[in-house]
Amino acid sequence: MLLRHTPKEITERTALTINPAKTCQPIGAMYAALGIHGCLPHSHGSQGCCAYHRSTLTRHYKEPISAATSSFTEGASVFGGQANMLQAIDNIFTVYDPEVIAIHTTCLSETIGDDLKQIKTKAEKEGKIPAGKTVIGANTPSYVGSHVTGFSSMVKSMAMLAEPTGKKNGKVNVIPGWVEPCDMEELKRLMNLMGVKFIMFPDTSGVLNGPLSGEFNMFPEGGTTIAELKSTGDSIGTLALGEWCSADGARWLDAKKKVPCSVLDMPFGLKATDRFIDALRTIAGVSIPEQVSLERGQLVDMISDMHQYLYHKKVALVGDPDQLISMTEFLVSLDMCPVHIVTGTPGKKFEERIREITRDVPYPVHVKAAGDMFLLHQWIKNEPVDLLIGNTYCKYIARDEDIPYVRWGFPILDRQGHQYFPTVAYKGGLRLLEKILGVLMDRQDRDATEQRFELVM
């Protein structure tokens, strides 16, 4: 057994986290920053943070992740990291020449109280930021929130670049939240199909799903440009997908720049996608093309075709709040029974939303924000499930408990496809269904007696 020391009996823990269902803020900020065109993320802290984030993102995307660090020493930790950062800014623009440096802090620089704004002002005064180049920053102390919070903070810093000109641009701002590059591509495809003019930020498509061509381009074609980010202040409205990872930036634009916002669930599954498409239609004033209705119909078709394999199957889920809310809703809409749901990210509202979505599930439902995968495993030991959905770390639980398992979330370190095949919207719903059905039906095949082994399923 891989997790052989996990007891079935659950005891309360107040101080010890075991097998976390979250990681720290800076990695989220780094991922978001990669969705800005020509941007080099910069980690203001000890160089280990940057190394760990780059490694994890590289393992997940199988793509180069370039990011720099202030490489704090003990001296910098005592006297402050300003000198390191100024030197870093100078070196970065000289050697790598990005359009943008997106700085995020770490627990180290936050604990000693480095002031990003002041350092940036000093860099400007000293002429270390070349004309036409941009430096943005986000405070991402690792001891608050989670990787999701860090993503949201960097997205907010992107929104804060908005410079309203007074003339509307007729576009809709769309904040896709922490989704894969292919998901961002899929959202753009749908919006183009609908004739919606938009600015999407961040946008990691074309950055983290690049080709092999014999050339290494540190700053690929993709990403939201600074001009677009400035223009968000002239947009007709903002759709923020995901309360935890997208809402802050959208609300800031609403409050400070008078760009009205709606915060929606992330468009995973049928209902959340319906709401997203409908909201887009309303805000952009477009009608829905037949193609979109067709894609929706195809998803409904597959649900009806395969309902017997899904009905009342119990599911355990772990991941990030916004994703889990939509996924739980999708599972319920399939007549499946999500019974154990854990996120490591704090937030009471998460538990409330899940309770509301699962209120008709005919089994007791366990849900916890600021929980961990050790607890999830214990719940599973007490109330076994038919399916487990989560990131790569779930493979240890799946193997020990012999549970069909779908990899979905962050990070996925041991399988391919998440960068290329979207799980958002209707087509993504088809893929999620295909994956879920695949593991459930493989299990049925594996466990069937020879007499009951089926050719047609």
Binding site: A15, T17, A51, D90, N91, C107, G214, G344
Partner: protein, 546 residues
């Protein structure tokens, strides 16, 4: 398939390459980097000085990690029956969770916490009011849940800054439990200039708190410790297989697939065999001073190096039975190695490699490439010191700078009851007279050819430049470097985690490595980078359907 590799015509002048690497840097950076980029003069007795173990330059995209990574990730991470509890915000523990591919075998029922990740997940209130209470409670909860033999606590950056006294907390909990050794590592990420400081801190605490704790005699005729072997991809398993076959008893591996008890019994060995000099030489020195165990440098990367190391161990014990057995084992193992070599060599001969890893691998792996007829044209370490490049004779001349001064050097005295010289002075003298070297490591530079480039703390920009200018057939580094190199159309092999491969140590490992490198340098995929219409963009007027 091509049977003979065409020799690529890549002309480069090392001085020109060096100049081009430095060209784009601001003056101050260029000056500093110039000292870390050395054109090898391959002089027989003395090597030119290289600057190493110096600060990373802010903003320059480095390969290096931090002290915490060196301590928790590298040294303590592979110890399977210790609960490794990270005191800090969640990230540090999360990123070090199972990502280093240290394989373990605790049997069906043994203690194995390798697959777990433990953290105090510090929140802002802990930063403001101090985290000692939470740490104390977390240790108690871990003890109540698992009743482990030992709990190790690791400090992350904020812990040192807010002044949590983790050592006192550990001591108190150890006394309270009675049957669980609890100790702490002040391995905050900002200490030192790289992972290296973390190795040192881990060495110190393991020696101080664990080594010598178990005096229950360990059986074995030829007892050694294997230091600096982390069982990445099962390397340690292969080395242990060979030891077992030779009749050599490995008391403790520091630290692949290790246990608390192995460390605790390490003082019972009669010889310390050091693999990774950089990460573990401190323990080797301390074991010698306190218990009288001599140490030698070994290398089990490369079949010839493995044979040589086994002979070195046998010569130390000086027992004909062992010397004969080692020769028998080598004779048994080598045919398969030679067959594999002969099989790949027509496709690998004359190809070139670069490697930038660790504190010993960039040296050790040149053995394997040599065995395939491949030449290393540039290499360097990520976190080594000058002695790893130039040899241990430079140690007395090393400058102690502000960053290394803060890393504790523990003073060790001979143990009043357990110090026992393993060989008489006369025996040691005789061995040395026969050319046997104790406590010696000559470093990487003497083993590299003239006009090769030795580069310390290589960064992303220089890596890309080197590949562009020197066009190696394969580049070896870590996960962060992997895909930027491969985008250039050059295969990249991870020598930290081995991608998903291994073992590469010992005899079987050598065979694995030959096949792996053959696969990489001869893969068809590198031919697919250009589409037909990109290779030949001219439209042909005579194009016909039939």
């Amino acid at each position: 398939m091509a049977t003979a590799t065409k020799k690529k015509l890549v002309q480069w002048d090392p001085a020109d390459v060096k100049a081009q690497l430095l060209e784009k840097y601001p003056a101050k950076v260029a000056r500093k980097r110039a000292k870390q980029i050395m054109i090898n003069e391959a002089l027989s007795n003395t090597t030119p000085e290289i600057s190493a173990n110096v600060r990373t330059i802010p903003g320059i995209i480095t390969m290096r990690g931090c002290t915490y990574a060196g301590c928790k990730g590298v040294i303590m991470g592979p110890t399977r029956d210790i609960v490794n509890l990270v005191h800090g915000p969640i990230g540090c523990s999360f990123y070090a969770w199972l990502t280093r591919r240290n394989q373990t075998d605790a049997g069906p029922d043994g203690e194995n916490y390798m697959n777990y990740c433990f953290s105090t997940d510090m929140q802002d209130s802990d930063i403001i009011f101090g985290g000692e209470k939470k740490l104390t409670a977390a240790i108690q909860e871990a003890y109540d849940l698992f009743h482990p033999r030992s709990i190790a606590i690791f400090a992350t950056c904020p812990v040192g800054l807010i002044g949590d006294d983790i050592h006192t907390v550990a001591k108190r909990m150890k006394e309270k439990f009675g049957d669980c050794n609890v100790y702490a590592f002040s391995c905050e990420g900002y200490k030192g200039v790289s992972q290296s400081a973390g190795h040192h801190i881990a060495n110190n605490q393991v020696f101080r708190h664990i080594v010598g704790e178990n005096d229950v005699p360990k059986e074995g005729k030829y007892k050694i410790n294997l230091l600096g072997e982390y069982n990445i991809g099962g390397d340690g398993f292969e080395i242990d297989r060979i030891f077992k076959k030779c009749g050599i008893t490995n008391i403790a591996t520091f630290s692949g697939n290790s246990t608390y008890d192995q460390f605790a019994s390490a003082h019972q060995a009669d010889l310390n065999a050091v693999m990774c000099h950089r990460s573990i030489n401190y323990v080797a020195d301390m074991l010698e001073t306190k218990y009288g165990i001599p140490w030698i440098k070994v290398n089990f990367i490369g079949a010839n190096a493995t044979a040589k190391s086994l002979r070195k161990i046998a010569q130390y014990f000086g027992d004909q039975e062992l010397i004969d057995r080692v020769e028998e084992v080598i004779a048994e193992e080598m045919p398969a190695v030679e067959a594999a070599q002969a099989e790949v060599r027509p496709r690998t001969e004359g190809k070139t490699a670069m490697m930038f890893v660790g504190g010993s691998r960039a040296h050790h792996y040149q053995e394997l490439f040599n065995e395939m007829g491949m030449k290393t044209i540039s290499a360097g370490y990520e976190f080594a010191h000058r002695d790893d490049y130039e040899g241990r004779q430079v140690i007395p001349t090393l400058e102690v700078d502000a960053d290394s001064r803060n890393i504790e050097e523990i003073h060790v005295e001979p143990d009043s009851t357990r110090f026992r010289p393993r060989k008489s002075e006369a025996e040691m003298k005789k061995l040395e007279k026969d050319g046997y070297q104790f406590k010696q490591y000559d470093g990487l530079i003497p083993d590299m050819e003239k006009n090769t480039l030795v580069i310390d703390d290589l960064n992303q920009y220089e890596a890309e430049k080197l590949v562009e200018l020197m066009k190696p057939d394969i580049f070896c580094a870590g996960i962060k470097e992997k895909f930027s190199i491969q985008k250039l159309g050059v295969p990249m092999k991870q020598l930290h985690s081995y991608d998903s491969g291994g073992p590469y140590a010992g005899f079987k490992g050598a065979v694995n490595f030959y096949q792996e490198i053959d696969r990489l340098v001869n893969s068809k995929v590198w031919r697919y980078m250009k589409a037909p219409w990109q290779e030949n963009p001219q439209l042909s007027a005579s194009y016909q359907w039939e």
